[in-house]
């Protein structure tokens, strides 16, 4: 298949700076050359392509918005979003890895950590010599994380953690976990290193989605960590929610990438697949599907671009991020399903990426805040009535 040429029906490239376009081209070429040839095999085998990590680190994909003094590219949020878009055009698993490393591990250490914690972890997380994960969700507390059971208890110069986290991307791979637990009733963040006695991270198996991604449980049984591993500036549920805003922002862009892959595949398939002596792209119902796809992708691109500009100006609201995540993932999943229909039986084969994207997007629709929770977040914002309490 020819290299991906991008989807830009409204000449939005003109709204990007030269370096933003160059960042996108770099990641686009990387995905075409290094990810697409191997991702389907990993997906079928249920393995994360760890061999890509050194290359991703060398490109500077981890924590790309953080300061240069930690070894990061210090680029803006639009460029970061374009990275997420291109990675998820490859596979949601790669975007998830990068989202977690950047938005859910480096961000809280950068925002809530001590200088020692930042100096110790950020350069290693940026150059890929350390992998991180983020433990907030529990088996019985998903949309309602404030009810978490995991506890931290101060004992002398140490904390003792007890509890369990679930659905943790990168958990089994991680060298450091950012773990949220209640300390005297208040939610605080802690750094737990791999190999700490009382801490295990078994991989969850049997997934039908995000198969090229590691998903784990984190189990803490009288897990003792030094007091210096508390993230000192964390205070209450607001802290992990700030992290989620970072990750959700990346997801809004990432979903566009998955949608673009599906649209691009469906368009070229429809133009070459002959039925009743003409390409199926010549039939009105196929055109209606394709036009629906390009319309929603274009709207999603505009949404993300403006959201990114607001974020760079420090004016993006978490409710706007919710709206973008909710909208773009919803439409990406619909686009993947439409693409699958256009491809007919071929759509279910690994030879084409659409079923893989469709299956991934089923998870993306409910992780980092379900579609419903984002509805209620925006709903509360515009009406003033919190409907989830």
């Amino acid at each position: 298949m020819a290299d991906f040429q991008g989807v830009d029906y409204f000449n939005l490239d003109g709204l990007l700076s030269e370096d933003e376009r160059m960042v996108r081209e770099t990641v686009r070429n990387f995905v075409d050359a290094e990810v697409l040839p191997i991702i389907e095999r990993h997906y079928q085998a249920g393995t994360f392509p760890v061999t890509l990590l050194p290359k991703m680190a060398e490109l500077g994909l981890f924590g790309a918005t953080f300061p240069a003094k930690y070894g990061c590219a210090e680029m803006n949020n639009v460029a970061y979003g374009l990275v997420m878009q291109e990675l998820e055009r490859g596979d949601s698993g790669l975007r998830s890895f990068t989202s977690v490393q950047s938005g859910l591990v480096m961000y809280p250490i950068f925002t809530f950590g001590s200088e020692e914690q930042k100096d110790r972890w950020l350069p290693r997380l940026a150059d890929g010599s350390a992998i991180g994960c983020f433990g907030l969700t529990e088996p019985d507390f998903g949309s309602n994380p404030g009810g978490m059971i995991t506890r931290a208890e101060r004992r002398g110069n140490e904390y003792v953690l007890n509890g369990a986290k679930m659905w943790i991307t990168n958990g089994t791979l991680a060298d450091v976990a950012v773990v949220w637990a209640k300390l005297d009733g208040e939610i605080r963040g802690f750094l737990v290193e791999k190999g700490t006695p009382g801490f295990t991270a078994p991989e969850m198996t049997g997934k039908h989605s995000l198969r090229a991604s590691v998903t784990s449980e984190l189990v803490f049984q009288d897990c003792v960590i030094p007091a210096s591993n508390l993230l000192p500036k964390t205070s209450g549920l607001r802290s992990p929610l700030m992290c989620l805003s970072q990750a959700r922002y990346g997801i809004a862009w990432g979903a566009l990438g998955a949608a673009m892959a599906c649209y691009d595949t469906a368009l070229s398939y429809a133009k070459s697949r002959i039925q009743f002596d003409k390409p199926i792209a010549a039939f009105q119902m196929t055109q209606e599907k394709l036009v629906g796809m390009i319309t929603e992708i274009t709207k999603g691109q505009l949404l993300c671009l403006q959201l990114g500009r607001l974020k760079d100006a420090g004016r993006a609201k978490y409710t706007q991020i919710s709206l973008a995540k909710r909208n773009n993932v919803y439409h990406a999943l619909e686009i993947a399903r439409s693409a699958r229909e256009i491809l007919g039986a071929n759509g279910i084969l690994g030879e084409y990426p659409v079923m893989r994207h469709a299956a991934n997007l089923e998870s993306v629709k409910t992780y980092e805040g379900t579609h419903e929770m984002h509805t209620l977040i925006v709903g509360e914002d515009i009406t003033g009535f919190p409907a989830f309490q």
Binding site: D3, D19, E58
Partner: protein, 248 residues
């Protein structure tokens, strides 16, 4: 080592080009331009030689302001300095070579690298012309090279095989696919390139010795013909291959 990579800004091979209103150049509207793919090997080879031997890499391009985007990419890949020989007027290969040679002469480089050809005009002429103008040896279509002091052993791609040649620096080389694996510009490199200055020099005008008088697209091919879908079509197929296509 002082190394110069001469690079060109060319239409992306994946984009469709059409002929402009003047009938002798391409219509640039809506065409994506990229760093000439063969020049990526040239830039990469300079960066590797610098990493091994120390020194400086300068990327030079002749053209209008649009070439800055390509120079910026070379900076993002890691070259130390970028120079635009600013002249948007049409030049033949000699006029381009003349400007590049004049710039290079003042730099006294150890080696000058080109891609084996630009994928737009396909002349494959500028590299060897620059070598002649500077009185340097040139080795074209290089797929492998070892540099030891000023001694160079290079392998060239030739029809059906390879030729091993020896030469001495300073010299001019044109790079072929296979010489190396060009690096991606890293995100840090891209951000760092933003703040680097691109030096602009106005090259002297040189009268063209060759003028493009017209540009034409290849004649469009006749549509294919389906003579049948089963074994009964074989006699007709054989007849057409024999009488019309004349291949059997």
């Amino acid at each position: 080592m002082k190394l110069i990579a001469c690079i060109n800004h060319v239409p992306d091979t994946a984009t469709r080009v059409s002929i402009g209103a003047d009938g002798k150049s391409i219509d640039r509207t809506g065409v994506t331009f990229v760093l000439n793919p063969y020049d990526e090997f040239a830039v990469e080879q300079c960066l590797r030689l610098k990493e091994k031997n120390g020194g400086e890499v300068i990327a030079v391009s002749l053209g209008g302001d649009a070439h800055k985007e390509t120079l910026r990419k070379a900076l993002a890949m890691g070259v130390d300095k970028a120079v635009l020989l600013k002249d948007d007027s049409p030049r033949d290969s000699f006029a381009v070579a003349h400007a590049l040679a004049e710039y290079a002469k003042a730099q006294s480089p150890d080696a000058i690298f080109f891609g084996k050809q630009s994928v737009d005009a396909d002349d494959a002429a500028v590299g060897p012309m620059v070598a002649e103008l500077l009185g340097m040896p040139s080795v074209t279509v290089v797929v492998k090279m070892d540099v030891n002091g000023t001694d160079v052993v290079a392998e060239r791609e030739i029809e059906g095989g390879r030729e091993v040649v020896a030469t001495k620096l300073p010299a001019v080389f044109t790079a072929q696919k296979g010489l190396n694996e060009p690096r991606y510009p890293s995100l840090k490199g891209i951000m760092a390139a933003k703040s680097k200055l691109i030096e602009e020099i106005a090259p002297a005008a040189v009268p063209a010795r060759v003028q493009v008088t017209a540009m034409r697209k290849p004649a469009s091919k006749n549509p294919g013909k389906i003579v049948g879908t089963d074994v009964s079509a074989v006699p007709e197929l054989v007849r057409l291959l024999h009488e019309e296509a004349r291949v059997i």
